[in-house]
Symmetry: C2
Subunit: 104 residues, 2 copies
Amino acid sequence: MEKNRIRHTVIFCLRHEAGSREEERFLADGKAQLANIPSVEGFELLRQVSPKNSFKFGFSMEFADQSAYAAYNAHPDHVRFVRERWQTEVADFMEIDYQGVDIG
Amino acid sequence: MEKNRIRHTVIFCLRHEAGSREEERFLADGKAQLANIPSVEGFELLRQVSPKNSFKFGFSMEFADQSAYAAYNAHPDHVRFVRERWQTEVADFMEIDYQGVDIG
């Protein structure tokens, strides 16, 4: 990755039953509401498939730099999604953020 | 991501001191030895920068499908790296694998 660029990822599992309409709606709404926030690049909706952890889904997105990431965190669409959906529908989650390493 | 494609990621921390020559050597050797295994695509050496977990580095790579992933796992260069380096130099790790979701 380019210097200063950040890849923000979150893996999570939902309170909804696997394959339910509520699960699909959460994922679709999450993508629709977060991917269009102006500083978000390369948003991906993912299924976590390793049997070595218990998380079932992932969101991945990239930011040009730390200020673009901060703008996403503070954006009203993100704040509202966290408050109205994430805090009630997500059972467990973990955030992992990456930057490039210029050795190796 | 395309259907069947898998992104394999592992986040980890090392027994070596931060910024040490041993740390740099592990990262450089990991990249050199794993990125060139034939079925590996898009290998990335990453720094994990979220303060919300304790892992310090990441490897990310993609496979065309499950059989390409299996070929990597069984490849002698991977098996040797795990046995000779990973098992002695890595203090803790977590694997996260992704596939695309075709909704949302």
